[in-house]
Symmetry: C2
Subunit: 180 residues, 2 copies
């Protein structure tokens, strides 16, 4: 029933839009301070017109070396990556970059609350997957394991993120259950 | 003597270069994971040439709504802003934006280790100023207080950041003293 409700209320919003809405709501309520990191851009040429703002006339998107979101909640450092897939049966690990995994392993070692948010858009279901679970499947792919994680595995080893009218992917509810 | 040593070894590096070097060293040593946030850029036009990378042909620098650096150290969320001044007698509060103070107050409430790094380039001295001290002077300016913080005050209420050959502004040493 929760999934149905989520699917119905949330039609057409991207995962990023939903997470940004949740973060804005969390900040407005003084619940948590979590931001999307800006996309790193290599600025090559800037034009400085008189009397108006500098214009970047040549720039390139750089590969992010970390994850999409970080911040703080109840004293804990929060850091996560979000991925949406149209795949109905599995989440391909190729969606994650190796340097992102390296980053997640480093911050997990420092004591961060680290996770992956995966949305199966076909089902309009969003899952919270603890970094440790992700690391297990990630590492296994280099030892004869699969290059993807099955949907059923994610349902079993992850946590369905509840829909909330304002915090549209209410991932802090999962963190509350797991950490507090 | 510490200041002299710092001045000598560090000539010509900007504060940002020094902090980036420190962060790289901390990450390489597995001591902490702290990054500079990318500069937020509003992308207006992108050209997609065949067979090569997308080129941003029109973009604008946006005002950052948070601070420059954040990350995690020994389980604590770290968040700070860095400012360099040529002024020899005081640090003008106009160097900080109001929304940055708002951000710092929100994360301080969540339990972050939050501070300002101020470099007086004339003296080649770098100070760690706890956010609470900054907030006190910031708020006071709206109640008849000064629009700047005197150099002597920063020396007294802040902490000289020691020079370290690889972590050129070794601010974790100050955090160790204050928090651990
Ligand atoms: Mg992403
Ligand atoms: Mg700055």
């Amino acid at each position: 029933i929760a999934n149905r409700a989520q699917g119905f209320s949330n039609r057409g919003m991207t995962l990023e839009e939903d997470i940004n809405a949740a973060n804005t709501y969390y900040r407005d309520m003084d619940k948590a301070v979590i931001h999307k990191k800006p996309t790193p851009i290599q600025v090559v040429n800037v034009h400085y017109p008189k009397r108006s703002a500098a214009v970047i006339t040549e720039g390139y998107f750089k590969q992010p070396s970390t994850t999409d979101y970080n911040g703080i909640y109840r004293g804990r450092h929060i850091d996560f990556e979000a991925k949406e897939t149209k795949n109905k049966t599995r989440f391909p690990l190729a969606n994650i970059h190796e340097h992102q995994i390296r980053h997640m392993k480093s911050i997990a070692k420092q004591g961060a609350v680290c996770f992956l948010i995966i949305r199966f858009s076909a089902y309009e279901e969003t899952y919270y997957m603890p970094a440790e679970v992700l690391f297990r499947y990630w590492d296994a792919q280099f030892n004869g394991g699969k290059k993807s994680i099955r949907y059923e595995t994610i349902v079993k080893e992850g946590y369905l993120v509840p829909f909330h009218y304002q915090a549209r992917v209410n991932y802090l509810a999962v963190i509350d259950k797991l950490y507090f």
